[in-house]
């Protein structure tokens, strides 16, 4: 019986059709999918913090409204993704527990601090730019609910990237000090943005199976290269220098060559030793625990109203 179900699953994947929630699927597929979707959801939720840091200090009402809308979107993206994870039998409360207990990870990029307002712009430009690079192919993920969530998310991410780049263009037209802030933020976020694509292919043991299952559509290194190729002309237009002396056009490949990423830094951040790991998790735990009485009160109210 399982053989037949497995054949059906394999055929669905082979025809590039979508797997839907109540279909039979190999345990490893379900596990991988839950982990990937949950970690993606956690990243959106934790990702609210670095930028949320600047909402009260945005330089104008226009910028504040934009930043609020963007951070609300991040919350929404997290909710779409938790919803997708639940179609696989995961429980949202359990996933939150796994996040705040360190049992599941989130993107390493959110463990870096946002030191100046230029960071808000650079996060929109580079971090959301890298996220878009990662996420566009996931709109064709073999798991239907995840792919559909990604379609919604990608539509909304475009605003995120554009507001960031526009913010930076505005600062670059400002004072010398403002231009220096943009360059400084670019220097700090460039390498961590390249790390967002994950370890190099020769250190990414699950890539092959994930590609076979249509969970992943391109390798980490392919996406990283694509991001560099897209970003260099944007940096030129903006008038900032990307902090990589080895970055240069390779006419033979028709792509940019770039320097070696310091993978020991990514390893350290993933292991919990980035600049803000503890702060991010503490803030999430506090929000969850402080909200418990609200959840309990709303449940009690609903029960009373129903009786």
């Amino acid at each position: 019986m399982t053989d037949l179900l497995e054949q059906h699953f394999d055929a669905t994947i082979a025809h590039d059709r979508r797997i839907e929630p109540r279909d039979w699927m190999p345990d490893a597929y379900r596990k991988t999918m839950v982990r990937q979707i949950a970690q993606h959801a956690h990243s959106e939720i934790i990702g609210m913090q670095p930028e949320g840091n600047w909402i009260t200090r945005a330089p104008s009402l226009r910028r504040k409204a934009i930043l609020l809308a963007k951070v609300q979107d991040e919350a929404g993206h997290g909710m779409y993704l938790y919803s997708a994870a639940e179609t696989l039998g995961a429980d949202r409360a359990d996933l939150t527990e796994l996040l705040i207990s360190g049992g599941q990870k989130y993107s390493s990029i959110f463990n870096y601090p946002t030191l100046t307002y230029a960071d808000v712009g650079v996060i929109g430009w580079l971090v959301d730019g890298a996220a878009i690079c990662n996420q566009v192919p996931l709109c064709r993920s073999s798991y239907g609910p995840y792919a559909r969530a990604m379609v919604r998310i990608c539509k909304e991410e475009s605003f995120h990237q554009r507001q960031g780049y526009e913010l930076l263009l505005t600062m670059m037209r400002g004072t010398e000090a403002q231009r220096a802030m943009v360059q400084d933020a670019t220097n700090r976020f460039w390498w961590p943005s390249l790390m967002m694509f994950g370890p190099p292919d020769d250190r990414s043991p699950n890539t092959e199976r994930s590609m076979a299952w249509g969970i992943k559509r391109h390798t980490n290194d392919e996406l990283r290269q694509r991001f560099v190729d897209m970003t260099v002309p944007q940096a030129d237009k903006l008038g900032v220098t990307l902090p990589d002396p080895d970055l240069r056009w390779n006419g033979e490949r028709g792509r940019y060559d770039f320097g070696a990423v310091d993978w020991s830094e990514l390893d350290a951040v993933i292991k919990g030793n980035g600049p803000c790991n503890a702060q991010r998790i503490d803030a999430r735990r506090k929000a969850h625990e402080d909200g418990d009485w609200v959840r309990a009160a709303a449940l009690a109210h609903a029960a009373k109203a129903a009786s």
């Binding site: 839907e20 109540r22 709303a298 609903a302």
Partner: protein, 94 residues
């Protein structure tokens, strides 16, 4: 520390003239809160003019396998389709 709200499925009518379509799910303590959360979560950019919320526990679904014999009765009735019938090419308006 866990007071979990039940799960609700959300359906949106994108605009007048279209059916409600399933868009996802959310957690809420009751139906009214589910509607408000659905508005905040799924219609931040005018994606809907009408929302339905249904408790996920109240949805009855057909068998998981979409190739199930449950749908077999439809498969062998080709005469339900217009292309089943041979009509000469020169018959107008058909």
């Amino acid at each position: 520390m866990s007071s979990s709200w039940p799960l609700w499925e959300v359906f949106l009518r994108g605009k007048r003239g279209l059916n409600h379509v399933h868009v996802g799910s959310l957690h809420a303590a009751d139906a009214e809160m589910a509607l408000r959360h659905a508005r905040d979560l799924y219609t931040r950019r005018n994606e809907g003019v009408s929302i339905w919320v249904v408790r996920a526990a109240d949805v009855t679904a057909s068998s998981p396998d979409e190739k199930d014999p449950f749908f077999a009765p439809a498969a062998d009735k080709v005469y339900r389709h217009p292309t089943f019938y041979d009509i000469p090419d020169d018959v107008p308006h058909m």
